[in-house]
């Protein structure tokens, strides 16, 4: 066997899929850049427990297909392996981002002040519920093109998921430095985040469908719904 040693670490460092090497006590011995970002959304303990749970019975490597979601990260498989008692590694496989196939229906897009639609939906919410809402919005968000009817439906359903929640916080802001590509063009992102002490998830599927039709990236979590809306102006 060839004895030349090749240093693969740089390749691993820059791999787009998270890779972590734990010690037997759960300490992190190594993690690549992608894993570093992942740790912003999930605890070390949770990932270590996951690693142990999917470890092969004896020395070696085992790949398990599963569906994992941490915030906007989603993975379709993991490989867990160990060659001695001291180290164990886990690699996550990024799920491919599904590109929306629905074309943008430009004739339905009308330049709109998103705050209007949001406030009208809050008024609608208030006719049905007595929960208190806190709204933090950026009045400087410029008008941009929205399918007003469909977007209102999306807002209604999203807010309805919080119909029995307490301390509902709604935040509308422009995401600085983040972009999305729509029809080959870079667009800024407006993020609407609704957070409370809990929420219903009975309409998650419908919310998902409408968001996809509207080219809106949706993050559904136990207590939060985030909509990332492309700021289309032309």
């Amino acid at each position: 066997m060839n004895t030349i040693s090749i240093d693969f670490q740089k390749f691993l460092d820059w791999d787009n899929s998270p890779f972590i090497l734990f010690s037997s006590s759960g300490k992190i011995l190594y993690l690549n850049n992608a894993a570093e970002i992942l740790f912003g959304y999930v605890s070390k303990k949770e990932l270590y427990d996951l690693t142990l749970a999917y470890a092969p019975q004896t020395f070696g490597y085992k790949t398990t297909t599963l569906s994992l979601n941490y915030d906007s990260f989603s993975f379709y498989a993991i490989t867990v392996g160990y060659e001695d008692e001291d180290q164990i590694s886990i690699r996550f496989y990024n799920a491919p981002r599904i590109k929306s196939v629905t074309p943008i229906e430009r004739d339905k897009l009308v330049s709109t002040d998103i705050n209007l639609l949001l406030e009208a939906n809050i008024a609608l919410f208030k006719t049905k519920n007595t929960n208190t809402l806190q709204l933090l919005t950026d009045p400087d968000i410029p008008s941009f093109k929205i399918d007003q009817n469909r977007f209102s439906k999306l807002l209604r359903k999203t807010l309805d998921a919080f119909r029995a929640s307490d301390s509902i916080h709604i935040t509308l802001k422009l995401l600085v430095g983040e972009h999305v590509i729509i029809s080959g063009k870079k667009k800024s992102i407006v993020q609407l985040s609704i957070e409370a002490n809990g929420r219903y998830n009975d309409t998650d599927e419908e919310i998902h469908t409408i968001a996809a039709q509207s080219h809106i990236t949706l993050l559904l979590k136990e207590r939060t719904i985030k909509l990332e809306i492309p700021l289309i102006q032309d």
């Binding site: 004739d107 339905k108 009308v110 709109t112 209007l116 639609l117 406030e119 009208a120 939906n121 008024a123 609608l124 208030k126 006719t127 049905k128 007003q148 009817n149 469909r150 209102s152 439906k153 209604r156």
Partner: protein, 244 residues
């Protein structure tokens, strides 16, 4: 512009929602019991918009092709709801009930539920006073010392029964001796039969006489003196007519 009065927070929120979306192309529907002011509210918010009724399906279809802004009343009466295209138009619909929840949910961005008068006591008092004014002028009754709060209001069918209970009360309140005799005459003409008529219909006169007397004079003793009958006779009659 016609005014629309409401103190109900829910209705105020509906108005707020509409005021915000007035210039947008969204479809909205107001759902609530008949006769609670849905149409008046929409007319107040959109005084210029063309209006069609769901009773006439063809008219609705034609209007949808012609206008970008349209009021559709009696939406529940439309049998072809699924096939309507309300996209990119300003549609304001009203309906007495939901019908197919799924369809309404798909068609409309804003679905407002309007509370009935039973849930809006302050609005009821306002509309009661409006009706009283109208009734006083319609019936040509001089405003006198009656109190609006005393009118027993029937809200089972919202403004319709509310209006009727006011007219009825005011008619009763303003009747003179001749009118009372006339009503009794027509009532008896319609119902009198059998072989015990005298006793049966005596209650028409005796019951209100004793009830009003008790209210006015408080005690049976005093009333018997005012009526000039024996106290025992009065007691017997109270029992006979089940008066508390």
């Amino acid at each position: 512009m016609e005014a629309f009065f409401t103190k109900s927070e829910q209705v105020q929120s509906i108005i707020k929602g509409f005021n915000l979306t007035k210039t947008l192309f969204v479809s909205s529907i107001i759902i609530g019991e008949p006769n609670i002011g849905k149409k008046s509210l929409v007319r107040y918010l959109f005084p210029e918009a063309p209006l069609v009724s769901g009773i006439n399906q063809e008219e609705v279809e034609a209007a949808l092709l012609e206008y970008d802004e349209l009021i559709i009343t009696d939406f529940e009466k439309l049998s072809n709801q699924e096939s309507l295209n309300l996209d990119n138009k300003r549609i304001i619909a009203t309906a007495n009930y939901v019908g197919n929840q799924q369809t309404i949910d798909t068609l409309f961005a804003f679905i407002y539920m309007m509370p009935s008068f039973k849930e809006r006591p302050e609005d009821t008092a306002y509309i009661r006073d409006l009706f009283i004014k109208e009734a006083l002028s319609d019936l040509m009754i001089e405003e006198s010392d009656f109190s609006a709060e005393e009118i027993p209001l029937n809200l089972n069918h919202n403004s319709k029964t509310l209006k009727r209970s006011i007219y009825k009360h005011l008619m009763n309140y303003s009747m003179d001796e001749k009118s009372i005799q006339e009503s009794i005459y027509h009532y008896i003409l319609k119902h009198l039969e059998g072989n015990n008529g005298y006793k049966e219909y005596l209650g028409l006169y005796e019951k209100p006489l004793i009830e009003a007397g008790l209210k006015k004079f408080g005690s049976q003793l005093q009333l018997s003196q005012v009526l000039g009958i024996n106290r025992n006779t009065l007691r017997k009659k109270i029992h006979e007519h089940n008066i508390d």
